[in-house]
């Protein structure tokens, strides 16, 4: 049974949507957790599936895989939490200078240089890059998730990757603690 079949079936018998949840909840949660931390991810991942259920009639049932659609809903929810994500990324960048004790409650996740590089990307760039790198969506799936033409996805992703490369190179040098420079 494909996701399309399950979602089509859920139009008549809503309980069939549970199959979509069972298949994809963990992946959606993990993606959100890496973006905003586990506490907010719990709420947002749950909200993603409630919204998906309410909008299930809009899913293109010719598609076998609901992952891009679900990630699209998830990143839309993230828009309202950009400040939380930025705060979290800034906290990670502080680790480079102040050490792990500086932010005791922070879950172990991002390297300070990566966090700093992500912080400098726009939300749209970050969504595109992380859906590609973390959710491992293909170009076609990115186009579906972000409702953009595939050509736009290709060119934007190239630009963002180049930007990230440049940032990481520069930041790597800048963020190395002075004591380690020698």
């Amino acid at each position: 049974v494909t996701d399309g079949d399950a979602i089509e079936g859920s139009l008549i018998d809503g309980a069939r949507f549970a199959l979509v949840f069972d298949r994809h909840f963990r992946a959606i949660h993990r993606f959100l957790q890496a973006r905003v931390g586990s506490q907010l991810a719990d709420d947002l991942a749950s909200e993603t599936f409630v919204i998906a259920f309410r909008r299930r009639a809009s899913f293109d049932r010719a598609r076998d895989d609901a992952r891009p659609w679900l990630h699209g809903i998830a990143v839309n929810l993230l828009r309202e939490h950009r400040r939380s994500e930025d705060r979290r990324l800034r906290a990670f960048t502080r680790l480079a200078h102040e050490g792990p004790g500086a932010v005791p409650d922070l879950e172990p996740c991002l390297d300070p240089t990566v966090a700093a590089a992500l912080l400098e990307l726009s939300l749209a760039e970050r969504n595109l890059l992380l859906l590609y790198a973390w959710a491992e969506l293909s170009y076609e799936e990115l186009a579906e998730a972000l409702a953009l033409p595939i050509g736009t996805i290709r060119s934007r992703l190239n630009r963002v990757r180049s930007k990230l490369d440049r940032r990481l190179t520069g930041l790597n040098e800048a963020l190395v603690p002075r004591g380690d420079a020698s």
Partner: protein, 316 residues
Amino acid sequence: VTSLELLRREFERTSAPGDHVVHTARARLMAEIELNGASRHAIRTRRPLLFKTVVVLAACGLVAAVLAFVLPGSGGLSGTEIAAAAARAMTPPQNVIRHWTSHTVLTRISPGHRTVTTIDTVNWTAGDRPYVLHERSTTSGDLFFEPSWAARQEIETTACGQVVYFPRRNLLGFDGPPESRDLSPVSDPANDYLDAYRRGAVRYGGKTTFREIASLKLVVVLDGYETTYIVRQDDYEPLQVVSRYLWQSSYSKARRNVVEVTTYSPFELIPRNASSEHLLHISPPGGVSVRGERPDRPACGFYGSLESLRRASSRK
């Protein structure tokens, strides 16, 4: 190490959610499904989506609802109270088959082009489980890419899917061609209303008169549809439903505004028991041809099998 590899390594540190997180989220989803899961509205929205409808009507019901609900209503009731009273009145009684006829005029309008389809339908529906909607319809006017023999059809919808019967061809299809479902826009107005009410999308639209009957207007803006229910003021039974939406063909960039006006006969309530159950089911005559296969749904047992249909027929 490329920047992409670096990013992916970082992501690998993120753990999967614990069982309690999954359990809590699943419970929340199941509550939502329990509330809105088996709604006729959801079935209805399949029609434009078969053509990859692009929904453009803005769902701005909240502001309108706030305004409407402070307006004075009928008999001293507020708009909120009227919407709730209508929901109570439309909740299907237990062990009853609701029977009614309806006449739908469906107008599709695009620049320089206008088509009209009319559909006359006889309906029987069981409002409590197992939920069944049995509709027998005749379509005339623009058949919308359908062959003429498909203008008459009978559909049985249950939680297990749809069986469609075309009497002019003595042909039975499981699920039926999508276009056929598109030709069957008549749905249960009470269930549609209840679904919208549960989702908080109903606002009171004021008093009106319909064919000299004192009536009320209840307006729903939901999922790209703007629907006005005209209900009797005394018992909230639906008299007419006007629905407006926009669809876009998947085959071209053509868009059309659609206006669907359905007028209903009074509801007749029939006790649901062994002798009336056949009203809820298709009962094809002998020699019926079968197109396609019954979808494989183990939980549905022999639902939709020829055997089950003949059994229903033999009880008639």
